[in-house]
Symmetry: C2
Subunit: 603 residues, 2 copies
């Protein structure tokens, strides 16, 4: 890498031509600046949507529909162009009629292979940060001016009561909290509704031994970075405390111990009626909120998948879904069957074993297993690591770099990950396969990140459970499932019968629109359709190809309904785009949306 | 500014000669590298002290005593040399036998005018941050391994009970908290003892309208920066919440609602016996701690100065020191006399006025008044501002730059500040003087920072009260004091009698060693002598010249007794050096101290 005059000129010339063609409203000239194989990923600049246009025709169609409204101008190169294996890339900034924006382009032979355009902020409505931060005081003494604490209390007494929030976020985990923090800086009145007692309980309530599987550099929230003494893998209770601190320090309007019971959209008033329930004055009370927008932030995944297994009702022992599993304490000496072989199944099996239970894992289909340090180094290290931080790569820049690769191109970037892992951890995989464990490395050898994007699961980041399988401390049955359940045993599909006191169904989760069905109606859930996944036509991610994650952080087929989730990385980064979409609507900025996808799958 | 080859060479040559001379133990050759007018400020590298050596003879004496022990080597230039008005300056790093260190030099004609050497960390005992941060989990499943929360609880139950802390910090305000955070990363068992109910109460309990007078960029704590949305001037309750959050998130061992009653040093065991009192099981309990080191972090200033005024006992109204003032609420309609004209006096007078009281301020001697925005811009802006931050100047670097100027040189850097202010805010000062208010700009025109270092007071950062004086909303009597008090009035030294319901003595504070007298003994307080001040022979800072702040963050005449305080800037920066001195002692590293000053003043 490194920039030479030749690369710098290639970038300068392309950007000048791009600006000129856009300025002339010359859609053909713009599309002629793209290669045959080309992608334009737009995050809320040209499309008021999160959209990847693939191929020149798609680009031409989008510009024909949208360009007249956007007025892109003031393109300026930001930093130096770099070159690697014939691909010249570089960053730039520009403005539209209403927004500041950022861009990234990859050029091959002077034509754009990939282009990213991403909104930074709204020109007339900047975030209250940096130069726009509040003064905190007024340097003028006035009689009886309320102080910060008094104003905060007054605000809390008002919002949701005499003043309606513009947004209600259902779910106050990391995703809801990150979005609420973004909206706060944009002065969008927002209430977070969380059923747990305290912010952070969604982590605290999980099984005892849990630590985050992603490393600290990948996990920052917006605005406040984890300090330099933070552990690489955050223990769950420490994460809970951090989220609770964050909620308070960022002054979020956060109603904990409050359950969202139902929501209905009033088409005429263009607002939601949201009924929530909490305990006040010693009794259960219902309270109605009337926000313009409803954001589902109810977890990275949807409702639990609970398979119906014949005989389950005859079982004398304990049977529950992994989401209801309290942790391994109290299971000493119990014969436990864990159905499933992904992250939760491994974590729960290991925790049960550590607590003295007798555990057998039932693996129905192949799993991608990657050792934690290999994952951190090979998949995240370039962007999210101590080294990257010390090289001056801020997490916001890392997020933009990550976002600059279109989803259609990611598999080719991630290709060969399986081969790399198999070589690096050959002995580990060999020993694991000797137990009968069935491995995969993503259908097309692309590893964990693609599996996460396509289906939100299907993998285990090994933090020790694989060794327990290898040593035989956790039993394993592979390529089978539970055929039926008897009063004190399970019978597998190959006929084997295993005695059982406890059955845990680590059978995953459905789509987030399940929550919309529960809270709003099946009709609305079906109208918006399946959430997450790219349409990759790989297991659990049926086609057709969509090019972006379904329904995430962008307008859906239901006005006023939005979905926000993802791991800490995705909910940190995309909360920015969702917040700016909501702010633009609140301010009455014209936000014509290009290409809300058709719904192909109901869940 | 900017670096040319000539400057780079000057720095390289000087540093090479310095390293060679040190390596040869050639004290004369080292001192020959300094100019006639020269200063070497050492922060715990050569002297195991905080010490400025002034002149070649002092440097030669110090090296003669200490160099044999230090083994400085591996000098490496860090960044680019710069030049301004004939002064070439630059940064470098080096190592000693036990420490990593940083240096900064200013050269005139190839000789050192100023040199800073500062410890960074101990080679064998790095902070648990960055590459040394904890993993947070063990990637190996073990039966019954306690999780983070369980380990934290077990640690809390043990420290101060079955395990004695190595350090006890008396006072859990910002200074105590910052030091405890540093010691935590160095794995030095430390207990903070705070009499208030909750961390942060030292701010929350102050008067209602208080906001920090220093701007946010100047106020960061170690490790966690205030986020970009933080107000410029932090409201007191928000500051309280931040400190409470910090204490929790940094996992400090913090005993709130605990009062330190007495402390005695056992010379034989070389440890303290510290008696603390708290409420447990519904009754007041005394508990004894036995730390090796006792750190007084009881506030930036000492005990309240309460002048004895004839007739005070006959007063029918309310009379109290500013430190006991509850705020202006409840004083509506009361005739209030505020004795004093510095920060507290102004803040309290303004708050009383805002609450409807009738207020008169009695100004006994001149005050340095500076408008808040002028102070932020002229005194702090270059190092601590939004612009400095956006230019990439981290607060740790800013602190080092600030520290690189010896105290003896600071007045010449700050000289002319008064003239600058008088020009910038001419109209303001003219109107203020028309009220009879007596202004100064520091004895030698050096303004606020020097006053703060010399005497810890004597100024008002104007956030609005001056306008109330100008408008006559707050009454003023200048160049007088209270001669005596009658049952419902005060009689001034010029004979005027003012009716009074309330008298507030905003008469400042004594030296921190007052607290040692109260807690330990008058004998120990007298042995360590006055704290703070430079010996500048200006009002309230008597000579002889000391060159460093008396007794702050460095060894005192009493083994095991340390003083830690200062505003947020100083307690942030110098907590690093105090923590490393304590860690070195805990690890049994040889720490010969050079030149603990004689005591010239008892308070």
């Amino acid at each position: 890498m490194g920039s030479t005059q030749r690369e710098a000129r290639a970038l300068t010339e392309w950007l000048a031509a791009f600006e000129t063609a856009l300025g002339n409203n010359d859609v053909d000239a713009v599309s002629a600046l793209f290669a045959d194989d080309c992608y334009w990923r737009d995050l809320v600049v040209f499309t008021w949507n999160i959209k990847t246009l693939e191929g020149r025709d798609s680009i031409r169609d989008m510009l024909g529909a949208m360009l007249g409204n956007v007025r892109p101008h003031d393109f300026t190169i930001d930093g130096e162009a770099t070159e690697l294996e014939g691909v010249v890339e570089g960053w730039f900034t520009f403005n539209t009629g209403v927004a500041h924006a950022q861009g990234h382009v990859r050029l091959i032979n002077g034509k754009a292979w990939t282009l990213l355009t991403a909104i930074t902020d709204l020109v007339d409505h900047p975030e209250a940060t940096g130069h726009h931060r509040p003064l905190g005081t007024v340097h003028r003494i006035e009689p009886e001016r309320p102080n910060w604490l008094e104003r905060q209390k007054e605000h809390q007494a008002r919002l949701g009561h005499s003043e309606q929030p513009y947004c209600v976020i259902v779910g106050g985990g990391q995703a809801g909290i990150a979005l609420a923090a973004r909206l706060k800086q944009l002065d969008v009145p927002t209430l977070v509704v969380e059923r747990n007692e305290r912010a952070g309980d969604s982590w605290r309530n999980r099984y005892r031994s849990l630590c985050l599987h992603d490393p600290v550099w990948y996990d920052h929230l917006p605005y406040i970075r984890f300090p330099e003494n933070w552990p690489v893998f955050t223990p769950k209770d420490k994460m809970g405390d951090w989220l609770e601190m964050y909620t308070k320090v960022m002054e979020l309007d956060y109603w904990s111990a409050t359950e969202c019971k139902s929501a209905q959209y009033d088409e005429t008033r263009e607002e939601w009626r949201v009924d929530v329930e909490f305990t006040g004055d010693g009794e259960r009370q219902t309270h109605t909120l009337r926000p313009k927008h409803l954001i589902m932030a109810t977890g990275a995944l949807g409702m639990p998948n609970v398979p119906e297994i014949p005989g389950a009702s005859d079982f004398n022992g304990t049977l529950h879904h992994s989401s209801e599993h309290p942790g391994g304490q109290g299971y000493a000496g119990k014969r436990c069957i864990v159905l499933g072989a992904n992250n939760s199944a491994h974590d729960i099996a290991a925790d049960l074993w550590a607590n003295g239970a007798d555990v057998t894992m039932i693996q129905r289909s192949s799993t991608h297993v990657v050792k934690s340090d290999s994952f951190c180094e090979l998949s995240l290290g370039a962007l999210y690591s101590q080294e990257a931080t010390e090289n001056g790569l801020d997490v916001d820049q890392a997020d933009m770099l990550f976002a600059s690769t279109p989803y259609a191109v990611l598999p080719q970037m991630a290709g060969g990950m399986g081969a790399l892992l198999r070589e690096r951890d050959a002995d580990f995989y060999e020993r694991l396969e000797q137990t009968g464990f069935v491995l995969d490395f993503g259908g097309d050898d692309t590893g964990l990140l693609m599996k996460a994007l396509r289906r939100g699961g299907g993998y285990y980041i090994d933090v020790g459970a694989s060794e327990l399988l290898i040593e035989g401390k956790i039993g394993l049955r592979s390529r089978v499932s539970i055929d039926h359940i008897k009063s004190d045993s399970v019978v597998l599909t190959d006929g084997e019968e295993l005695p059982a006191d406890v059955i845990i169904l680590a059978t995953g989760y459905g789509s987030m629109n399940n929550f919309a069905a529960e809270l709003i109606s099946q009709e609305v859930a079906d109208r918006v359709g399946k959430c997450w996944g790219l349409g990759s036509d790989t297991p659990k991610d049926p086609g057709p190809w969509e090019g972006e994650l379904r329904n995430m952080w962008k307008p859906t087929q239901q006005p006023g309904l939005w979905f926000h989730s993802g791991n800490l990385h995705l909910s940190r980064h995309y909360s920015r785009y969702l917040a700016l979409q909501l702010k633009a609507r609140m301010e009455g900025i014209d936000t014509p949306v290009y290409g809300i996808p058709e719904v192909h799958h109901l869940e």
